[in-house]
Amino acid sequence: MSRILTMSRAGREALDWEMERRPEIFCLGEDVFKFGGIFGTMDGFGAKYGPERVISTPISETGFIGMAAGAAMAGMHPVVDLAYIDFIGVCYNVLLNCASKTHYMSGGSVKVPMTLLIGTGGGYNNAAQHSQCLHATVAHIPGAKVVYPSNAYDAKGMLHTALRDENFVIFLTHKGTAGVGWMGTPIKTTLSEVPDEPYTVPFGKVKVYREGRDVTITGLGMSVHESLKAAEELEKEGISAEVVDLRSLVPLDREGIIASVAKTGRLIVTDEDYLSYGVSGEVITTVTERDPGLFRRPPVRVTTPDIPIPFSRPMEQAILPLAGRIAEAARKLMA
């Protein structure tokens, strides 16, 4: 096996394989027929599967994402491309009250198997309405699974898993990790050797990118790659960092997080989402609830602060959880 893929191509391969075999899967979203979705997950599908299964919609998110939920309840498995997570604002009811809760409210009698593909994140100066992560906002909703691969191998395996799941799955990808041309040259650590054949990556299992002794650094999406950069720097200084990709928020692999902290005794949680009421607090609480004695030093959060994402580059670069900030936090923790 020697073939290397971007996350974009890996995800596309999974969706293509499933669509070839399962007529209940169809694609829905703005510009998907001609443009193949924000990450090219449906690239070329318009020509291959035709306009009945690859449906370009009007700019009507409340309508078409709600229709996806309805189609799922009626026996289909829609795959919806919502481009930027900032846009959930206009269709939030479907996520919050319908797709996530119907199975429960129906006492298990109605299933809503649908996969919602969403791009997250900033770092490229697109300002406050096109740069948010908001994964905690969707992970807070009971009844929605939320996954967040950060490399090509996981993108393919987790999309196979999502498409075979009987539930509403929110499938997040940080724009900067996808390996699409408009975001520039892909980050090397997002690229993977990817098998031709289909495979699944289970939800609810962390991935340890690199093992370490001194400090656990958890990340998700882009912050995994910033953490890896920081870990490389730290290694030169004699600090051994373990980088753990959460990669699935619902379900969350609490045991995986605890196991790493039990080994290192120090925890830095990186997160490009806002600081408060989010994933970073959840990760720290997970360890604290098990045993606060696992911490040799108080845990640290390196996140985007509780401010809207500023447009101008000097300001945006200063507030993102980039490698420099992560490494600095690790040095302080080791001092």
Binding site: S2, R3, I4, L5, T6, R9, G179, V180, G181, W182, G184, T185, P186, L191
Partner: protein
């Protein structure tokens, strides 16, 4: 026999534009088949595909994030 892998003259329209390889989809030394997608080339914001002109062992000569022009030899297939 060695086949050069060059940036095709018709990969993009405008002759005055340059591109860059953004990713090699096989490692140096990998076996590739003629017609395999072996690299992505970026011109401005547009991703283009570079296909293997022959079957054999890929020897990469130009790494990602280096400017390439039409006709540049970026690899050979042995």
């Amino acid at each position: 026999m060695t086949t050069p892998v060059t940036i095709p003259q018709d990969l993009w329209d405008e002759d005055d534009k340059t591109g860059s390889i953004v990713v090699w989809l096989y490692k140096d030394g990998a076996e590739v088949k003629e017609g395999d997608l072996i690299a992505e080339v970026l011109v401005e914001k547009v991703t283009l595909e570079l296909l293997a002109p022959a079957s054999g062992t890929l020897r990469i000569k130009v790494q990602p994030e280096v400017v390439v022009n039409k006709g540049d030899e970026v690899a050979v297939i042995e």
